[in-house]
Amino acid sequence: MFKRNFRQDNAMAYTMLLPILALLTIFVIIPFVYSLYVSFYNWSFYQESTFVGFRNYYLVLTDDVFGKSVWIGLKFTLMVVPCTLILSFLFANIIKNIGPKMGSFVKTAIYIPTIISGIVASVIFVFIYDYTGGLANYLLGLFGVEPKAWLADVGSALPSIAAPAVWLGFGITSLIMLAGLYDIPESYYEAAELEGAGAFKKMWYITIPLMRNIVLYLLVTGFTANISQYELSLVMTGGGPLDATTTPNLYIFNHFRNDVMVGNSIAASLLLFVVLGAISAIIFRVLNSEKAVDG
């Protein structure tokens, strides 16, 4: 009896899984296996592809620019993700504590950047950073400061590109944080208040620990999304000045566009996949995920 029921359940479950399994196979597994295969070839669209073993990987790994681009991707992520998380955590708290009417207006307002495409945002920020006519240099001019070459200076280019990334990611992160805040039962705070805990203690001992899973989720998605960012630098700087904004994906993209053979870009993509996987694994290990005490 038990056995039969069990099997029926299984069949149902597999049937339900089938569509997504099929889609994953077509769009993820097969392309992935195929790209592994192609990465060992000098892949040309017009001539016979030739087997070259690990040569593509060797070329990528010995290319200084690739190593540098991974480092730039990390730096970029370390600028964007903490900034976004802290800002949106503070902002979510503000939204939670203002009235529902005002709250829903603010929620809509901060969500707008999320639906703007990265390309459009880049173009807007290119105008802002314009050397002679841009808003940023106009504001500097009000204080009598010389115009700054925001996107052409090696030192300021990457932070200048990080700013629109924060702006783009801020809205959705705040809303997810807000959902997390609403998920914490009010009774915890009431109990803490009875015990005489202040706002800071409540934040430190209740809010932050209970937000752990939210933060973990945002960290992992934020890390992967930002380290694979490329359209901001593609549009705003083209990867320059002197490769200072060439993120790993832009490196791959440039090779895809310029190289005669495609194997190099595929090898680089697979290596980036390894880097991303390693980083996500480290985050999971450090912020050991566990179920919240209360559902």
Partner: protein, 471 residues
């Protein structure tokens, strides 16, 4: 029970794999037909569609469809393309051309994606520096058997070399244009106390003039300032500086020892660091907008910029002076520019090469008036590779009295060199030396790094002896 679960799992995992393999196989097969169908998905649904669709040689009455991709240049160029493609379609009933204008920054990825999918267009625009390599890789096919031999006799001898590999022609040239010309504002020269009829002739004079012309809101000089743009716009100046490019002719090693390269790099460095150039480019190298708006007093730009100035900034046309780019030593017979330009080629996998070539023949190699219309739209800022078009142009009243055109034709084009065809990475390595010197790196160090990068590239990619022009 466990064994059973495993078995059903295995079935579940393999079933979609087989299914999708079948799907992809189906999709691949449907490509064998002509691309007359509106989309691949529509063609792949009935199993026999491949054999049912139009055969390679279309019967009479059923026109062959040719896909053509053209790079987006000036608006006038796109209009010209559309106009004469329509004319071509109207002029006969055997070939129907579908023209797509592709923006330059989307070109490379769009083309790669199409090539990977086996859906590359039949005819596409290709710049001269890409012809030899594409021919070597089989991306484009020889036109000798597809077009009348006589159309190649109409080309100037040096132009034949632009599209030839061995004894075959792989593209038909459309236009040539020098990459580097100096534009300057005569009125600003006067205000700064400089002689408007005496543009700078050496790099030192240029630097001095630029400093004199710089004032609030106006920069004395502008040229390319990111490695990607310096890479190609400085080829002419590299020839100028050293008489050769920074790599040996057989592509076996870097050739950077010349003192001239050092001077070239420090020329860029001084122009940038003196403040005569904006610290961040106001626009891309090919765009004359900041110059047209009066934010720049002297501009290095290609010959095409005069077309933009004449079309968009009519009020300053009279105040614009045009001169050859200054040279390292003031010798006016030095190379200051490379001749870039575009041609049309037939894709190596085109199913209808003959029909594709007939379009190229109509557009570029036939009646001189068709291309003449293009040169007129470009305000005669470009040059033709064909003798017969030049003759037709000589009788055109506007072209014949155009002083700028005459100056470029007499003083720049004869000394210009063709663009190099070696891999872009090498140009980029040298340009990176220039950019890093502009941003503060020592000139010698920057050049040492370029030399190392070029040699590394050569070793890793085994480029020694692969120059298609030397084989």
């Amino acid at each position: 029970m466990q064994a059973q679960t495993k078995k059903s799992l295995a079935v579940l995992v393999t079933a979609p794999m087989i299914l999708s393999l079948a799907l992809t196989a189906c999709g691949g097969g449907s490509n064998n037909g002509s691309n007359a169908g509106p989309s691949q998905s529509a063609a792949s649904s009935p199993s026999g569609s491949a054999s049912a669709s139009a055969p390679a040689n279309a019967p009479s009455g059923e026109p062959v469809t040719i896909e053509v991709w053209a790079n987006k240049f000036e608006d006038t160029t796109s209009e010209w393309f559309k106009k004469w493609t329509d004319e071509f379609n109207k002029s006969q009933s055997n070939v129907k051309v579908n023209l797509t204008i592709v923006p330059g920054d989307a070109w490379a990825q769009k083309m790669k994606a199409a090539q990977a999918a086996g859906k590359a267009p039949d005819v596409w625009t290709i710049s001269y520096n890409g012809v030899a390599n594409s021919a070597k890789l089989g991306e484009i096919q020889a036109l000798n058997d597809l077009m009348d031999q006589t159309v190649f006799d109409d080309l100037y001898d040096n132009m034949k070399d632009f599209v030839a590999v061995g004894d075959k022609y792989y593209a038909y040239p459309w236009l040539v244009e020098p990459s580097t010309v100096l534009y300057y504002r005569k009125d600003m020269f006067q205000e700064a106390g400089l002689d408007p009829e005496k543009p700078p002739a050496t790099w030192d004079e240029l630097l001095a003039d630029a400093e004199a012309l710089t004032k609030k809101g106006v920069f004395g000089f502008s040229t390319a300032q990111t490695a990607a743009e310096i890479g190609w716009s400085s080829w002419g100046l590299q020839y100028n500086a050293a008489g050769h490019l920074p790599i040996t002719d057989d592509w076996s090693k870097a050739d950077l020892a010349d003192e001239g390269f050092k001077k070239l790099v420090s020329f860029y460095q001084q122009a940038y660091q003196s403040g005569s150039m904006p610290k961040q480019a106001l626009a891309g190298y090919t765009d004359a907008k900041p110059f047209g708006e009066g934010k720049i007093a002297m501009m290095a730009n290609g010959s095409w910029a005069i077309g933009q100035i004449r079309n968009d900034y009519k009020d300053i046309v009279d105040k614009v002076g045009v001169a050859p780019m200054p040279t390292i030593d003031g010798n006016p017979n030095n190379t200051t520019a490379t001749l870039g330009g575009w041609s049309l080629a037939v894709d190596g996998k085109s199913k209808h090469p003959k029909e594709a070539a007939s379009y190229i023949q109509y557009l570029l190699a036939g009646d001189p008036n068709v291309v003449l219309d293009y040169f007129r739209g470009a305000q005669f800022s470009k040059f033709t590779p064909r003798k017969s078009v030049d003759e037709a142009m000589a009788s055109d009243p506007e072209a014949s009295k155009d002083a700028v055109r005459a100056m470029i034709a007499e003083k720049i084009v004869p000394y210009s060199k063709p663009e190099p065809i070696y891999p872009w990475d090498i140009s980029l390595a040298f340009a990176t030396a220039i950019e890093s010197a502009m941003k503060g790196t020592d000139v010698d160090k920057a050049l040492d790094k370029a030399e190392k990068d070029i040699n590394d590239f050569i070793t890793k990619n085994k480029t020694a002896g692969t120059n298609p022009k030397m084989q």
